[in-house]
Symmetry: C2
Subunit: 345 residues, 2 copies
C-alpha cells in the first residue's frame, strides 16, 4: 500500500529535511506534494533525486491526501490543520500550536508510540529540545524512575529558521570585514556570543522554550517528573546539545545507564568507555549533523544528590528534533495500518 | 606607601589584563616589573600609557618585590612561587597548582576576604568559573543557605589562552574560505560548535574544570554546599556564562534575591524588572567583555524542588574571572597593611 503525502512548509529548514528523510527512508509514498505559502509557489524543492514544484497551501484540496507532514508557522497550522484533518488526512504537525491540546497526541515513537493511535486527525511533533531529552530519559526512567530533571541547553540557530542561520553566517563574516550586521532575528548579536533566550518570555520568568521542555516532557513521558529547564542559543548552525542532571528513585550505576542507552532505540553512546581510537570521548553538535541518533556522552554519577546521574545529550535538531521524528510517526501509523482509506472511523 | 609589583606571565591573556587593571585602578605601585619565560624577554607590554620591557622570570631576584601577580603555566608557578615567597614577596597565583593546598588561602574578596590574611606567602586566585559563581552565590547563601548547586557553563576560548583565541578566529575564518583549520588546542573543532570538555578527564568522569568548581566553591564559600558542575566550551572569545540552579534551605523570592544581588559588592542585576529600554532583559558574554561586575539575569523560581532558584550569571573571565580578582586581593592586602617591609612576621 502506498500513500499520498503532503509536506507543508516545504521550503523551510524542517520541511526540506522532511522531504529528504522521506526519500532516504523509502517512505511508501505514491505521491509527495510540497506545499507552502503563495510567495513560494512554483519554487523547486529536492525529493531524493527529483525536483518537486511547490504548490499553494491556501488552495490545496486535502481530500485524497493520506498524511500531512507540517512545519510552517504556528499560526498557519492552527488554520489549515483542522481543515486538512476534516478532509480525511492525518496531520503530523511540528509547530507548538496543538502540542498541549487535550485529544492531540504528542508523540516520540521511541517513547510513547501507543499514544499516536488515539489521534483525531492531528498528531503533534514535540519541540526539538524535548524530543532528544525524552528519548534519553525514557530508558532510565523505566529502569530507575526519574524524579527530577535539571537541564541546560546549547541550541543551534537552525531551530530559529533559515533567516537565523543567515544572520549567524553574515554577522560572523562581518567580524572579519570590520563591518557590523545588526541583530534582526535575535535580540542581541549571536556571532561569538551566547543568548539565554529562546522564544518569548512568560510571566513566570521562564521562556516559552523552557516551559515547553517542562510541559511536553510531562505529557510525553510522565506527569510526575519535575523539570527545570534553562535554554540558551549558541553560535552553532545545526545540532542541539543538553547537559541533563537527573535525580532517580533508585540506584543506577554509570555502566548500567550506558548499557540501557546502548540497548535503547534511537540512542547511541560515545563515552570514556568507547575505546581509545576516538579524537575525544564525546559527541558535539557538529558531529551530530545529518545523523539520526540521540547521542549520549559524559555519563557520570552525581554525588550531590541521592541517585544522581549527569550526562550530555546531542542530536540533529532538524532531523530527530523535528523532521525525522515526524516521519517516524508516519511510519508508525503505516505499520499500525492506521493510514489510508477507511483507516479513520 | 607604594609597592614593587611583579607580573609573571605578563605576555599572556591574563598577564596583560593584570597590567591594564593595575594601571586602571591606580594601584599604588612604585615599580611594575613584567616577567615571562626566556623567549618573551625584551618584548614590550602595555602598562597604562607606558610600555614596559619583559624581564626573565628565571633570573629575576624577588627580594625587594612586595607583591607578585602570577599567571604562567601551573608548572611554572609550582617552581617559582615558593622561591619568591621565601624572598619576602606575597604571590597571588592564578594557576590551579596551589588552590587546594592546605595553608594556601583561596580568595574572592567579595566572599572570603579574611582568609587572605592567613597567607604564608602564597594566595591562590580561584578558577574563573568558580569566581563568578561564588560571587553570585555568597549573598543568597548568607540569606537563605545554599544546599545544592547544579551549574552548567558556557565558557569562552580566552580561558584556554591566546592560542585558543587564535584557533577559534582562524578556524571560523576558514569556513568562509572553504578551507580547514584542524583543531590543535582543542580535541575537536570549536568553530560553530560546542565542546563538553574543559581541562583533562578525571577517573570520576568529571573534567578537572568541573572538579575545580566543586572543590573550590566548598573551600571558598562553605564545605557543606553540594555542587554538580558541567562545563562546556562555546565559540565565544571573551566572557563566561553559567546557568546556576540552587536549592536553598529557606524561602527566598525572586524579588528578594534580586535585591540581595543589587546590594552585593561585585554584582549587577539586569533582568525583566530592569526597565523597558533594554534591547533584551539579560546580559550576554559579549556585553560583559571589559566589564568588572558579575552580572545576574534570568532570575526565576524553580518549582521542581523546595526553595529552588534559577539564574544566569555572566562575567569577563579575564577580568573578574582572573586578573581583576587578583588585583583586588592585592588591594585587600594593601588596605590591611599586610604588604611591604616588615608586614610578614
Amino acid at each position: 500500500m502506498t500513500y499520498t503525502v503532503a509536506v507543508v512548509g516545504a521550503t523551510g529548514n524542517v520541511g526540506r529535511a522532511m522531504l529528504s528523510i522521506l526519500a532516504e527512508r523509502n517512505f511508501p509514498a505514491a505521491r509527495v506534494v510540497p506545499l507552502a505559502s503563495e510567495r513560494s509557489v512554483g519554487r523547486k524543492v529536492s525529493f531524493g533525486d527529483r525536483d518537486l514544484t511547490v504548490d499553494d497551501l491556501a488552495t490545496y484540496d486535502f481530500s485524497g491526501t493520506d498524511i500531512v507532514l507540517s512545519s510552517p508557522g504556528a499560526k498557519v497550522s492552527a488554520t489549515f490543520a483542522p481543515h486538512a484533518a476534516a478532509a480525511g488526512a492525518v496531520v503530523i504537525d511540528n509547530t507548538s500550536h496543538f502540542r498541549m491540546h487535550e485529544g492531540v497526541p504528542l508523540v516520540v515513537p521511541e517513547v510513547n508510540p501507543d499514544a499516536a493511535l488515539a489521534h483525531k486527525g492531528i498528531i503533534a511533533n514535540p519541540n526539538c529540545s524535548t524530543i532528544q531529552m525524552v528519548v534519553a530519559l525514557a530508558p532510565i526512567h523505566r529502569a530507575a524512575g526519574v524524579k527530577r530533571v535539571v537541564v541546560c541547553t546549547y541550541q543551534s540557530v537552525s531551530g530559529s529558521g533559515k533567516s537565523a542561520m543567515d544572520e549567524l553566517y553574515r554577522q560572523t563574516k562581518a567580524v572579519y570585514e570590520n563591518a557590523t550586521v545588526p541583530p534582526q532575528v535575535y535580540a542581541k548579536p549571536i556571532a561569538f556570543n551566547v543568548l539565554p533566550h529562546i522564544d518569548v518570555f512568560l510571566d513566570s520568568g521562564m521562556t516559552k522554550e523552557e516551559w515547553k521542555m517542562v510541559a511536553e516532557t510531562q505529557k510525553i513521558l510522565d506527569p510526575a517528573i519535575k523539570v527545570c529547564a534553562s535554554c540558551a542559543r549558541v553560535p552553532a548552525f545545526i545540532g542541539h546539545a543538553e547537559y541533563i542532571n537527573v535525580e532517580l528513585s533508585a540506584s543506577l550505576s554509570v555502566d548500567e545507564a550506558r548499557s540501557l542507552w546502548r540497548a535503547a532505540p534511537g540512542c547511541a553512546v560515545v563515552d570514556l568507555d568507547s575505546g581509545e581510537d576516538l579524537d575525544a570521548p564525546y559527541i558535539t553538535p557538529k558531529d551530530a549533523q545529518g545523523e539520526d541518533p540521540v547521542y549520549i556522552s559524559r555519563v557520570r554519577a552525581d554525588d550531590s544528590v541521592e541517585h544522581g546521574l549527569n550526562f550530555w545529550c546531542v542530536a540533529d535538531n532538524l532531523r530527530k528534533g523535528a523532521a525525522l521524528n515526524a516521519v517516524q510517526i508516519a511510519e508508525l501509523l503505516v505499520a499500525q495500518g492506521a493510514l489510508g482509506k477507511g483507516a479513520r472511523s
